[in-house]
Structure formats: C-alpha cells, structure tokens
Symmetry: D3
Subunit: 340 residues, 6 copies
C-alpha cells in the first residue's frame, strides 16, 4: 500500500428527481467522505491506495466498504464495529436556491472510536504517503489524538504527510480549529489551503469570504500561501484552488501551486456545474498523483485543477474519471472552455 | 383562518425523465393550482391559511387535500363531491423547444359546482384577506356568480380582497374577460397585473406581448399600473412582475409595487430556470406576506420577487421554500446574481 | 384489413411501486381499452387487424395511436378530434385489499362523437370480421346508434359480427343494457358471455354473482349458453370463461365453447395473477384467432383460455405474448399447472 | 382533540426494487412509528386524532410532520428541536430470506428529550383517550418518567389509557421491561398483548416464541389474557392477535378480545403479505375505533383484525385504507379468504 | 412508400439519472440509428416513409420495429433474421466531461447480411427518394456492395438519391472511406456534408477539425460545397451544418444550402443542448421535407436547421417534434434566441 | 488466493418494473456469470476467492470488475482486452408465462480469447481449488483447450478440481458436450450434476426432463450419481439438486451428496421464488464452502441447499447473503417451511 488516507465515510442520501427533502419520497444512495474520495481517485489513477476509517458491522458498513473496493481501494486496514454509519442528506440547489445539506454524523462508529484502536505501526506499514483533511481532527478529541499519534509515527518513519485543511464551520469554530492545527501543521509536508481555510484553520488572512470573486483576490492567496511555508518550514508545498462562483450552475476555477519557493498557476476553467461537491478532494488526489508520478510543478497543478473541475460533472462524491479524461480536460480544445 | 384563497386545484402529470408525452411511459404526479399554490406558500410562511375549492369524493380528491394539509393549509372549508378532479399534462421544454401544456379540466367538480353551494358567511367566517385569481371566474358562469357573491360579502364585512388578474387565453377571450372583470374589480383592494393582464383583462395597454423584453417596457408598465388605480379607486395597491426571457433556461426578473401613489422597484434577478410555472403565485403569496406582516413597500416587493424567482428552482407547482431562503435570495451575495 | 374492432381507448395510470393513489407521486402510463386490446392481440398473432375509435388531436391521442401502431394495429380508420382522451386510474390490490379503479372517461372524444361521423361503408371496406364489446353501446346514445348502423351494414355485407357482452355496472344498469342488447343481438354471429353478462345483459340466469366459485356452477353456464343460441338463432357460437377466484393472487380459469350445438371444454388452469385486467379481451382475441385460422372447436377454446391466462402475467392492458407462448401454455408441462 | 398517541417517529428507508441494502443505490422514503401509525389510522377513520413526539428543526422533521398532516393528524402538540430524526433501514424479505431491519434511532430528538419538556396539562388538554406502546418507555429513562407523569395526569383526569405492549428485544431486555411495565400497567385501561409481549413485558407465559403456530396455542393466549386482568384490575380490556406464519408471503391471522370477563374471537384470515410491518398498529387503531364508536365486542375485534390484515397489503408504515375497505374485508366474500 | 432510408438500427442504452456507465445500475432503452431517425422524422412530418434494415427474430428486433411503427414508419420492407441487434452505450457528458459512447455493433444482423438478400426491384418498388448515410457502406463489404446495387437501380429508375456523408472514424479510415465514396458519389443527387465529412469522406479540405469554430470557417465551407458539385456534376444540391461549440451545454448552429449554383444561409441559433445526438439526422429529414414539399431554397434550409436544433431538446435518437414546432423555432421570438 | 473460478461474465439487462422486453423503456443492469457468481459467494463467506476471465478495456469491463471487487473477489488475474462484454436480456416470468432469456454473448472478449493467453502456472499460483462449469468449454474451442491445459496443471500440482456440469442447450448439443466432457471428467475431483446434466453431459440417464417432478425421481438420481463415480474413479464426490417445480413462483428443492460411497440427503425446502436464476451457482459455492471448511457430509449438503434456496430470494445473479442467513435457513423455524 503506497498511500493511506484517513477520515470518515458516510452514506449520502439525495432526493430523487431534483426534488427537495420536504417533497421527495425517495433518495439516491451513495457512499463517500473527503479522504475516501481521495483514496478512490488515487486507485482510479492506478496507485495502490488504502483507506482508514471505522465502519459498523451492518449492511451499511458493508456497502461502504464495497463501494471502496469496487473502485479499487484497499480496505484491509478499515476498522469494524461501533454503533452506526454517519450520513448526510444532500439537496442540490439550482437557480436562486443554494445547495443545502443536513448532516447526521454524530455518534458514528468513527466518531466514537477510541484513540488506542489505531495501531499506527501496523496501519502505516509500508505506506509512503499519509493523507488527512482538517475534517478528521474535528470529529472527536479521540480522533484528534489518534491522528497526532499517526503523524508522529509518519515523521519518525519518513512517511510523507499531506493535509487538506478543509475547514468545516458546522463541526468546529476557528479558535479551536487553529489551536488543533497549530499542533498538527508541524508534521505536514504538503498543505492544501482553499478559501476560508487560511483564516479559519491557520489564522492567516488571504480570502474575504465571498466565493463570487476568489480569483479576483489572487494576490492575497499568493501571500497567504507563502505565509504558510514561513510559519511551518517543514511544509514546502502549498496548493490552493481559487474560484469565482457566478451561480449554482456557473463558475470559474483555477489553481496555484507554491513549491520550493516558486509559483505555478493554471489557466481558468469556465465550468458548468452538475454537482458542486467533493471537487476539493478530486483536487487533492490530482495533486498527489502529480507528486507521486514525478510530474513537474506546472503539470502537477494543471492536472489537479483539471481533475477537480471534472468532478463537477460526476454525480456522487467520487471522481469516477480516468487519467485520459483528465488529460483531455487539461488541453485546449476540450469541452471545458479553457482561457489562456 | 386569516386568509382564504379560492380557485381550482388540479392533478399535474409530468413525463418522467425529461421525456415528451408522446414517448414517456410514466408521469410524475403533483397537485396544484394558482390559488392553492398561494395558500401553501402562506402556510409555509407561517400564516393561518385556508383554501376553498370543490374536490371529488375519490382518492384523487383525497390526495389533493392531503397535499394541501401536508404543507399546512387549512382544508376545513373545501367542498366535496362532483364528478372529477381537473388535471393537466405538463411537458417541460428546453433549448429550442418551449414548455407545453395539455389541459384536461373541463367537467371538473369545481367547474360543475352550483353558485348556491358557496355559503359565504360560513366560508368567510373569521377571514381577514380573501384571494382569487382571474382564472376562477373563467371556469364557469356559476363560479363567476359565486365569486361575485363572495366579494360582496367581503366588502360588507371589511375583508380585504386581493386579485391576481392571471389572464388565461385558453379559458376565455379578452372581450369576455374584460366584461367580467369590470364587474369584479370594484371589490378589489390589491391587484396583481402581469404581462398581458393589463390589456386582456382590463383593456389597458402596458405590454406589447413579447416576453423577451418586458423589463425594457418598464415605463409602460408604470403607466398601466397607475391607470388601474385611476379606474378603480378602491384599488390602492398594484403589483407587477416584469421579465426579459432569454430562453427556456435563462431569464431576468424584477417587480414593481405601486402603493398609495408611490412606486417601489426591485433590482433585477438573472435566473436559471428549472421549472417555469407557478412563479406568479409565489409572487402573490410573497406580496401578501409583506402586507400581512406589515413590511414596508420596498421590503414587500423585494420579498415578493425573491419568493417568485425561488419558485423557479423548485419542481412542482408549490413554492416549497422557507422565509430564511427567501431572505437569503433577497440579499446580494445569494446565488441569484443580483444586479443593483 | 381483415378484422375491425370498435370501442374506446383510454390512458391508464397506475401508481408506481405498488403504492396506493393516495400515497404515490407518480404513475405508470399505458394505453388500452377492451376492443383496442383485442386488435393488438390479433395483430400480434399475425392478422391484419384494424381499430376504430375517435381520439383527440393532442399528444395523448398521438400516444394512443402510437401504442396501437407499435404493436401492429392498422390505425388508418381512427377518427381524430373532440375534447379529450378518456382515462382511468388503476390501483392494483393484493392480499386483503381488492384492485380498484377510478374511471375518468366522461366527455371523451369518442363519448361525444356524433352518430353521423361513422361512415360505415368506408370504415368497413374490406373487413371480414367486426368486433365490439358491450362497453361500446354503453358509452353514449350516439355511439349505440352508430354501432347499430354498423351492424346493419355488416349483416347486409356478410361481415361476421363478434360481440363480447362485457357488462359494466359503472356505465349502465341491467334494464337499459338488456333493452339495448335486445336490439343488437340479432346481428351477432359469435357471442362471448362471462359471469354477470348472462343476466345483466341478456336477462338469462347462469351465474350467482360470486366470483369465488364460477367453475362450480358449470352446469348453469352450459344451460345459459344454450339459451342464448335459442333466443338469437343467428348466434351459433357462444363462448364463456369460468373462474374460481381464491384471492387477488390466486385463481382457477377454464372455458367453454358452444358451437353448432356442441360443447368444447378446457382443462382448468391454476394461476398466479400479476395483473387481473384485460384477460377477457385476450380471451376474445384468442377465440377470434381460432375462428379466423380454422382451428377446430376444442383447439380454439383451449387456445383462447391459454391466451387469456397468459394475459394475467403481463403488465398493462395489452396481451403482449406470442403464438408460441400461447401454444406452450396450452400444453401440459408449461408453468401453468394444468389439471386434466 | 379526542385521542393523543405518544411515541417516536422515524424515517424509514427501504431499498428500491426489492434489492438488499448491500446492493441498492437508492431508498424509498417513508415516515412512521408505532404510535404515529395509530394516529394516522384514527384520522383516516374520521377521529380527531393528535400525535405527540419531538422532531428536529430540519427538513426531515418537517417532512415527518407533513406526512402526519397529509393524512389528517393534528400535529399542533408536537415538540420541535433536538439533534436528529431517528431512522431505520427496512429490507423486505421473501422466500427463504427473512425481512430484516437496521435501526439507527439512537440520539434522536425524542430520545434526548428531557422529562420536563412534557407539560402534560397542556398536552392532554381536551384529550379523551391516550395511547402509547411499550416502545415509548424503552427509548430513554427521561421518556419513561415523562410517560409516567402523563399517565398520572390521565388517571387524575379520567382520560382513558390504551397500551400496546409491543416488546422490542433490540431496545431492552425482559427484566428491565417487566420492571418498568409493572410501574405503568396500573394506569392502563385497555391493553394489547401479542406474541412475546406476555412474557417479555409482563412475565406471563402465553406463547412459546414460535410464530409459525401462534393460533395453535389459542388456549394459552386466553389464559394469559385473563391473567393480565387479574394482575391489573384496572385493565378491563385485553386484546391479542394470534398468527400462524407459514412463510414471509403467507400467514393466518385472527384476534381475541377479552372484555369485562368475556371472550370475543374472530374467524381466521388467510393472508398474502405484501409488507409485514405495522399491522399491530393498525390493529390497535381498529380496536380504538371500535371502542370510540361504541361497537360491540364482537364487531370491535372483527373490525380490528380486518384493519390489521389490510395493512399487510399497503406499502409503508401507515394503514392507508378506508372504513369501507375494512368493512369489506370483514365480510365473507372479500378477497381475504375468510374461513368461518 | 415515397421515401426509403437504408441503414443500421441499434438499441441505445443510457445510464439512469445522469450517471456514468461505471456507476449506474440501470439503463434507459431507446432504439435508433441514423437512417431510422430520418425515416421517423419524415413520418412525423406526414410523409409515407419506409425504412430498410435487417433485424433479428427476437424481442429486441420486435421492439426496434415497434418503435419505428409507433412513430409512423412503414416497416414492411425490413428483413428479419441474423444473430443480434447492434447496440451502443451512450454516456451523456456535462461541464468538463465530454459525452462518450461505447459501440457494440459488430456481428449484428445487418452487419452480417449478404449482398444478395437485398432484392432492390422489390425493395425500391414505388420509392421516389432513397436515402442513406456514409455509415451504411462502412458496416461491411456486403453492405457496401448491396448499397451500390441499390444505387444503380435508383439511377436506372429515376429514384432520387440523398446521401448524408456522416463520416465515422470508429468504423473506417479516411483512405478506405474515400475509395468507397468515390464509387458511390456518382449516384448521389443531394449530398449533406458536415465538419470532417469533406476531408475524410471526399478528400476536400473545408474544416480544420476544431468544432469550437466551425461557423468561423464559413468561407471554407462554401468553397468545399462548390467543390463537391464540381467533382460530381450529378450532385446539384449540397447542404452543410456549421457549428461553434462552446461547451457540452452551449453551442451555435447555422446551415448553408448550395443548390443549382446558389447559396442559401440561415441565421445562427444559439442553443442550450439537452442531448447532442442525432441532430444531423434531424437536419437531413428537414432538408428532405423541404425538397419533397417544394419549399424554396431559403425556406428549406431554415426548416432543416430548425428541425436540427429542436432535436437537441429531445431525449433519445428520434426527433419527436411536429411541423408546427419546427415552424415556431424558425421564427424570431421562439425560445431559440435567433440572431439575424 | 485459495480458490479460482474460471468462466464468462456478462452484463445482465432486465426490464424495469416487471415489464416484457417488447414494452419496456429501461433495463436494470447487473453483472454476473456462473463461475463469477461462485467466486462472489465464496468471498461473501470469507474465503480468499479469485476469478479468471477476459474482459474488454471499456467502462463495461470496468463495471464487471468493479462488481466482483465490491463483493470481495480478487480480480488480479482477470485478463483484459478483446472486443466486447457478453450480455443477456433477462425477462422474468410469472403465472403462466415462463422466464425467458435472450443471449447476446457471441464474439465476447472471453469467447475470442486464444488458448495461449492463459498462462496457467501464473494463473494458478497458490490456488488450492479450481472451479469451472460446463459452460466454459462450450464457449469456444480455444477455451476448451485452455481449460484442458489448466486441468492438466491442476492434476500435476495437486490442485483440487470442482466441476458443475451445467449443460446449456443453447450453447452446444449433447453429442459434442459428451465428447468434450469425456476428455475433462478424468481431471475432476468433485462433480455437481443436476437435472439434464446426467444425460446431456455424460450420457447417463437419471432424469426424465420434466422439472415438475425431479424429486419424485430421487432413486434415479442416486443411481446416476453412483454411476458417475464408477465411470470416473477420480471423482469421489458428486452432488445434485433435485426439484419439483410447481410454477414460476412455487417449487420444492432438496439435494443429495454422494461422498466416498455414502449418500447424504437434505430435507425439502418449499420455496417462494423471486428470481429463479443462479441458484445452482449458489449451491456450488455452498458445497465448496462445506468442503473448504471441513464440514461433514450432512452439514455440507444442508448448507449448500440452504445457500441455493436463499439465492431465489435475491435479485440479480449474485447470492448476496451471509453465512448467518444461510445457517438460519438451514434450521427448522426459518421462513422457509422446512419439512423434515
């Protein structure tokens, strides 16, 4: 197993036929979660990719594992047991109505797992890259401590650590988040920071909170990215997605990679959005693919943003696209109207 | 019961999966109708909202009542009996193909109801606002007479009357419509006049019939709105929605309120449309909410147009949105690209 | 065109997923009607089969015609125009709950057609067998008169007339039905009489009204069938289906043919029922197939009952089975547990 | 409000198209719960029926309330707030595979409600009959205490108390259940005891645990029913359903009412089962209907069992049938093969 | 039969609910194929339209024929037999992801048909216009030879020949295609050449291969169209569609007709695309309709392009629109934003 | 990898909602095949189970592999490439209509694979049990030869060989089958022979061809089973399923194991059938599980038949049940009415 990602996996329930929760009488079911999505993307791109979480011993837990396996993820290190699978209800917006989500993840098997259940020497055996997002330490104190123990093991064993900051305002407040991340960032080699992550997770000002003109603030993002590497010298690589969101349906996306003191920036993709979820995870996986495959900085960040915008075209949390499709979306002439 | 709306409710049948009627082998079922939609919106916004119609004693009538009840409408004054529930087939357009509708409402329970079935002192007991649209008197002569009797009762008992003119060219011709409305308008306190309503229902020229540039004719609308208050001095409030329709998918919407001699106008919403039906009813309900809640003119009309454009994002005839969602759509920064 | 069947075709709406009308939010759509079903069966069995009705000029009328054409029926003599397509809501029962139906066929294009719209010399040009059911004259006085004119033309032109008595208590009362049928029976060459048809349509007692033991009354049926040929000497062939209905799911079916003074009887099929509709039409078509193909009496009635019980296995009103499948169901060893 | 039922309401998720949870990618959604089901049945039968629970302030809570309202239940006393709506996954069995259920109800809004949130004088204002099942005190200690306070209020105010013992082995063990019920039974006027309820809830032996021959143990049931009235003299009415279960699809059902020292017993219904859930709630509602409507003992218990077996024909937790349908199922000659 | 079109018909399988093949567990089924689509369009427009292919003797072959019949096509000349129905899997793209197709048409009944199975004097009896596309000769050598024999019969019998060049890179290479077409073009009276057809099928340079700016190369198209008439003097009419494709969702379409030395050009339609398939077949049918109905050059080409863009709004391969809808899309003010 | 099964995997397409192929407009999609089904069952029962086939490099091939992986099968030895995935259309029967199947498997990737593509030393590395069915050698001569080479490797390397004879009359005739099996049987250690397998595959008379009374011929089966071990002394274990089929819905199942000269027989399961496919594969996997787990003869055969009848309750080709569910079905008191 080359990569291991660590986090929570949930059942996603989405009303049938574009309905609202209040009116529907059925839900599409899918299984996903930030780090699970990354693991699936890596497996789809041909890497030996593993995933670590805890799932209940019931058919829902089986179905979650089955989904991972179906798309090629190694699930041999998943813990089993605990009371339930977390879930969330996903109501896709359109026009004047925003997408909205009802979380129901409290008390899940992973959220109630004990720190000691994670035997890191075994779990990380043979792993070269360890990936987590800022969601994982927000789940519970036990998980935060487990994660820290894992990171210490990584540092002691030359396992590269990648962190997508991924701030979630519904899970914790900036003050707590910053305190926790201050403990964890010294272990991070590669950091992904988007939008409000800079301020909420690290206390760095780089984004004003208005998604409708992230790209317009590109200079602030550049400064913020540099600031991360200054504060955490171990972190030599920072990547960010910048977006101008025009509507639920239309947005512009580009990305920056700051690596070893140099910026690499992509052209802007003007995108029609089918489902605006999990594109950040697709970006993280694309970035990792570049790093794992030895692509240069420019190709890496272009690959990552192309993977990310492709996710917006796929239903569900998983970025079920091929490397060839990502390469096509990178090139001029693809259906993404790429403006250089 | 604070508000009572009066009209016809129908079963709406929409082909599955974006198909045409000719090719589908199934229909989504929903229940709605102009005044029923208003009643549901008012209930969703927290008002004690009642609805008056006549529905058959069969499972379809039960399902129609159940839909109203589900969304909080008081159905205790609905009459039961008669031969059938009216219905219509709704075929959503896209691209170069317009949305089209096959009506099948002739001979319905409400259309065949007798004038005397409506015992207004009982039906309007405790009601403060009575709402109808121009569809109601177009259904049958008996209904026109019943409505007039109701309006007379309202006038005698200080019940406020709101009328959405709502011209339907498939139900009657301008000549008849104008003759009937000339009888009814003297009872109306608040009037909603959109697009062809001015001319077809009242004989006032304010709109040239081309939906692709209603907003461009704003000055004509202003003059037309004033003209209504001149002709019918009891009608001190007139509201209108103005639209530029670019395509089945894209349009611009704004609204004007003329109240006590003063105009209040909203910014323009540039909207991606999911289902272009019943937005006028959502507007009427939003307007009523403003009037019932004591909002000022500017806030009222901005609330009404935001409610209206939100409806375009919801499947079915009912505007299943919350007050918080409407308030969000009113503010800059919502997903509706609001241009001030 | 060898055969022409004449009657009403409707849109059938059935709740999705075994739900009740009250709870469903969608309907499966299918198009059918007694005589249309017969026409489809005949076409599926390789006959040049035509159908006569009147259908509205709208997409529902098109879809009805398209359904007939899809399954090979010649629709060139269908009249077009009038207000609407009749329809019915079909709620399949199970266990302790009976199947139920909500009719909504009043005011349909065929029900409002005028007697003179039917130009029989043209409509019956080249036809060898004319088929109608007792539903057709029950639709309207105009249709009754049109039908009678058609039958007179048949008699004058040696066109064989087949009538499935098909009493429908929701459409007319026995007294009226008997009066009308007394006028029409003298033109009928082949008569299908089931269950309550004997008494309600012809005033002959042969069945006590209890579907749970029709087969147990076989002797009464035999007497009734003979009585028909005595009263109407032109009618030399009578066929009947006899059933013991154990539950919505389970029943026994057999049939008798009385032809030229001789009885032919089938073994009993013990059947699991998927949809208990239109099996009578399938029987009529099977009978016609036997007569048209020159099968002997025994083979004809065995073919007809096998066609009939196969219909119980097909969703919708149409008996979409092949001659080979009917032949297989006739033989011992088929999945129908045939008890000889 | 004449009746008030008190318990937990859940979202039920059932795999589409007869699939297993492990293989499905979608779920039918329905809302129900033992006491909510009773409330719906009572409303469908024309009673002013209220329901008491606590539901979260989110679209799922709204949808649960909407479902109750749709079918006529008064929801004005429902408490709002708390973390989540309980839910369960329902996997219908067939053939050799049993129906199975995955509960996910821990931490729900009702389960985490405080005892003091229930202001009984207000909640029971005007109520004549109060109904709960043995599930309610099993949910939490707080709820057990709240329930007891409610029962004390009932006793003090001459409100009749009905209890369906409804033992749930997944929620508590017999030892605890018996201890709790010993506290509550002295307040119960009418008791429903089925199958394992006698022993698990009350420590009375009346059933050997084998569902395949409950009816065969009828004498033990009679003794057990009498024993209840002996132990709890306030409880003058006991009703029980007895079943022989042949398979997932086939079973026999009958019921006994023991009232004021006299037994009333129904004939046996031989039933084909569509969904074997919530038939006990339908029975309880049927029983209450008999008591509220002044039916005599024999008619009451026959009505109750007919209501119960009809539920087996309806998809979902709610018994969406009419009084006329129940009356039809009571009579010989209905599709339920009734053996007297 | 006035027109006969000749080619392959396939089962199209499209994942449900916008899913990818990899993730779906169901497919929408539709039947179509380039020349079958043309035949359906012609029948919908009121022409006596026939179709020629070979279909297997199984339910899939029946369903394909049924689809044609449903929409009015004469299938009396379809050959039956052979091993299988060709099929293709259609995965609709969106946003950055292109639509993709998995063909599975090898070994189909038509592909394995022998040249001698086509008895042209019988098949073309009474036909006035014979239509094929460049797909037909690409299917097999036998079909190429059969086609050539058919064209020779047409020439000898004054049957007009229409060919849509329709290059398919997955079926053959330009070198082969050009060699074959050089044999067939001398028989063609009317030729449709789009995009890469000029070069790949005829070796004429008129389009640079980039779909994002076909309209920008209009002058090259004009030259290419003239060149066709120069090389093949029998071909007096050439029509082409030009497109600027902005994204999967958005594109601009216009068309040119070159007839008897004169160019007729349409305004540009700016179109929102629902399904970007079979619009070329809709164009071909629109063109034929113009020619068959005696419309002038300008009206013909405007009708054809309007028919074509309407197809983009219909699900499936068939252009299920009416002449009235095409006429509406031709006019300014339709929902297609027409820029003159 | 402990077990390896070898055969063809197909896409199964089943009409939606119980429709016939002729009438449906959609198909449920599932992936399966005799030996793949066995592999999935073994993986579900906890064995390290591998599968060998050849699948195309397209999304359908990916989806087939994904299905196997989802349910735990090791797919690392699957060959990739070739033209297409085989498929079949599955039309479930009911009542008088039999289940029917349209195969479309010619020209698949596995059917066109070369003998030399199978590098047995690598493919069988570490394998302890090799499983194939009689379908595999029927696919192509190349596959027959490849299989024989594999069997020779097994014999040389002490890999146990299990063969389910599985005669398929649509793939080859008894004469050919017997010739081929005569070559292969000498390598087989464990043989499963059902129904017509005895005669068609081995030329042994044990079953008269009438599925309606297989159990009634138990003595013939016993003799046939012994005869196999006499002819092929290496084959010390023979297992057979015996069935009385009453209808599509109802049947009786039991099984016999003949091992080392001793018979072990199960009680009869009276079963309601949901989908009568792949129960033989479930039986084979259950048998293997018994052999691999060291169960005794009686427990093994009871486990196998219980696994088999459970499959009849699961939609699709895969037996998605747990060991606990199989154990429950083995016991008296489960929902399968077990008659000892």
């Amino acid at each position: 197993m080359k990569t291991l990602t660590f986090g929570e996996m949930m059942l996603r329930l989405k009303p049938l036929a574009f309905e609202r929760i209040l009116q529907t009488n059925g839900f599409e079911a899918a299984y996903g979660g930030a780090e699970a999505n990354v693991a699936v993307s890596l497996a789809q791109l041909g890497h030996h990719s593993g995933y670590l979480t805890k799932l209940p011993n019931n058919p829902l837990g089986e179905a979650a594992i089955g989904t991972l396996r179906k798309f090629g993820v190694d699930t041999s290190r998943v813990l089993r047991g605990g009371p339930r699978l977390g879930m969330y209800f996903f109501e896709k917006g359109n026009g004047a109505r925003s997408t909205s989500v009802v979380y129901d993840r409290a008390g899940s098997s992973i959220a109630t797992a004990d720190t000691e259940e994670f035997d890191w020497p075994t779990l990380l055996d043979g792993v070269e890259v360890f990936y987590f997002s800022g969601i994982t330490p927000a789940i519970s104190k036990s998980l935060e401590l487990a994660l820290k123990a894992g990171l210490e093991y990584c540092q002691a064993n030359q396992i590269q650590v990648v962190c997508d900051l991924n701030y979630r305002g519904k899970m914790w407040q900036p003050e707590t988040a910053q305190k926790v991340m201050a403990e964890l960032m010294p272990f991070v080699d590669v950091c992904i920071a988007n939008d409000e992550d800079f301020e909420a997770m690290l206390g760095i000002k780089a984004f004003d909170g208005d998604l409708s003109h992230g790209i317009d603030q590109i200079e602030d993002f550049r400064v913020g990215m540099q600031e991360i590497t200054k504060r955490y010298p171990n972190c030599k690589t920072v990547a960010s997605v910048l977006r101008n969101i025009h509507s639920v349906e239309q947005s512009d996306w580009m990305a920056i990679l700051y690596q070893d003191g140099k910026f690499y920036e992509t052209p802007t993709h003007h995108i029609n959005v089918m489902e605006g979820v999990a594109a950040g995870d697709a970006f993280g996986a694309g970035l990792l693919h570049g790093l794992l495959s030895g692509l240069d900085g420019q190709e890496t960040i272009e690959f990552a943003i192309a993977a990310s915008v492709l996710k917006l075209s796929v239903s569900g949390d998983l970025n079920l696209v091929t490397e060839a499709e990502i390469r096509a979306a990178m090139s001029k002439g693809s259906n993404a109207r790429l403006s250089r």
